[in-house]
């Protein structure tokens, strides 16, 4: 329709909302995170000169005037305060080059026609503007390519949470890998579209044999269970089993000290409603520091909605965490009285899990409320959406999906591999879900 909005443009969105974007360095799992200090506002680059009538492609110097994730707003050199031809581009694509690149391929720099008569001595102008300025390192694009590498390959086998019964694991095969995100197909599923997307560093995936190693429920054939158990014992995997060193490593737990015990109460992000932090209970203690957690008042009699969190997970909190941080705590369903932990512990004859058992580390993550990100909708994990960090509580972030109701918000850890810098989708060729625009009444 004529009224249909054009394709989503991050630059326009950021300029319109006048919001900052989270810096690439805040996303440790994201490509170039460790190299982003190579980039700075004010640096000069060589880019295509689009303000030119020549039949062949020519380039000109531009200055980075603003950075938003992987994207940068550029202004052609010589435009001074004139912002009329400012443009956004992705610094990690081959459209942007270090100064000096054109000379290496024998192409002369040609000034834009808007300013071509502004100066008569272009050499003098460029010497003055470029001397002492910063530019991208010569190996920048090589680093981009290297940092995008993912060792997961199509056909590899692993164990993943059953999206239909989250207390159980299933066997899956890697179908597709895009920018470190993996499309998995459940091996026992008849439906080829029955997929599950997650990042390669997701806590939801594990190597073959993991479920039996830690004592997690596994839905698989008897043959698989026997074979995977034997493989775990012998440490001899099949060629198509994902090598264990590709998976996220949880912190080792000192078992000589006090441990989580069945029945202990805590607060936890509801895995089936990520906008809420709920009253929860340790239902089972697995090996290697893993816990099965149930959300009080929501549990099915068979425990099929218990969820596995590692005890160092940043998604579980000690009793009183919400109160302390002014986060709404969701009480057990049908709990009639105003919820008070002391009364509840007394009523349920249970004890709170000791504070020292939780992950109390707060990294210097750099996220601030108002920052724009690209975030996975964890309820539909194939979708990466335009989003805003709306609250920061220590290491916990509340992510709001632009244009959507607050009920779709998600609490996520600052190191969650499901958050990406602005421009990640563009860089990876992955579709980005634009903000929801509510239809206006006719």
């Amino acid at each position: 329709s004529k009224n249909k909005p054009g394709p989503f443009d991050w630059g326009v969105h950021i300029d319109t909302e006048k919001k900052e974007s989270a810096p690439v360095t805040s996303f440790k799992h994201a490509p170039m995170s460790g190299h982003w200090s190579d980039v700075a506002v004010g640096m000069k680059v060589e880019v295509l000169n689009t303000d030119c009538d020549l039949p062949s492609k020519v380039f000109w110097i531009a200055q980075v005037i603003k950075i938003a994730g992987y994207r940068a707003k550029l202004r052609y050199e010589g435009f001074e305060e004139n912002s009329s031809l400012d443009f956004w581009c992705n610094l990690c694509t081959m459209e942007v080059h270090p100064v000096g690149w054109c000379a290496t391929i024998g192409k002369p720099l040609v000034p834009p026609k808007t300013i071509q008569h502004k100066y008569t001595n272009w050499k003098g102008f460029l010497v003055k503007r470029l001397t002492g300025a910063k530019t991208l390192p010569g190996d920048f694009y090589t680093k981009v390519v290297e940092s995008r590498e993912c060792k997961f390959r199509s056909g590899m086998q692993l164990e993943v949470v059953d999206k239909c019964s989250i207390s159980s694991m299933r066997v899956a095969v890697v179908d597709e890998v895009v920018g470190g995100r993996i499309r998995l197909l459940y091996r026992d599923s008849q439906d080829e579209e029955d997929d599950f997307w997650c990042h390669m560093a997701s806590p939801l995936i594990h190597p073959v044999g993991w479920s039996q190693l830690v004592g997690h429920k596994l839905t698989a054939t008897a043959d698989y269970k026997a074979a995977s158990y034997a493989k775990t014992i012998s440490k001899k995997l099949d060629p198509m089993d994902c090598p264990p060193d590709l998976f996220r490593k949880e912190k080792t737990v000192d078992s000589s000290h006090q441990q989580f015990q069945v029945g202990m109460k805590l607060e936890a992000i509801d895995p089936l409603n990520l906008s809420t932090v709920c009253v929860a209970t340790v239902r089972k203690v697995l090996r290697e520091g893993y816990l099965m957690i149930g959300i009080d008042g929501m549990e099915t009699p068979d425990g099929s909605d218990w969820f596995c969190y590692h005890q160092t997970s940043a998604s579980i909190f000690p009793v009183g965490f919400c109160d302390l941080n002014k986060i709404e705590l969701t009480p057990p369903r049908n709990y009639s009285a105003p919820f008070k932990w002391l009364d509840y512990l007394k009523k349920t004859k249970s004890q709170a899990a000791p504070v020292k058992l939780f992950n109390n580390e707060i990294p210097n993550h750099g996220f601030k409320a108002g920052m724009k990100v690209e975030a996975v909708d964890l309820m539909e994990p194939h979708l990466v959406c335009v989003a805003t960090v709306v609250r920061v509580v220590g290491r916990l972030l509340r992510v709001h999906f632009d244009g959507w109701e607050d009920t779709y918000d998600q609490w996520v850890d600052c190191e969650a591999p499901d958050l990406y810098p602005v421009g990640w989708c563009e860089m990876m060729g992955y579709p980005l879900q634009p903000p929801l625009i509510k239809a206006s009444p006719p």
Binding site: G34, H35, P108, W122, L126, T131, G132, T135
Partner: protein
């Protein structure tokens, strides 16, 4: 490992080619320090 690489800003000579001819300028770029 990616996050632990050590980089520092170093001066480098950069070649510029324009329609009037070639010349070089001194610029700063981040490089591996080892």
């Amino acid at each position: 490992g990616d996050a632990e690489r050590s980089r520092k800003w170093e001066q480098k000579q950069v070649q510029i080619k324009t329609l009037e001819g070639e010349f070089s300028v001194t610029m700063w770029a981040s490089e591996d320090s080892n």
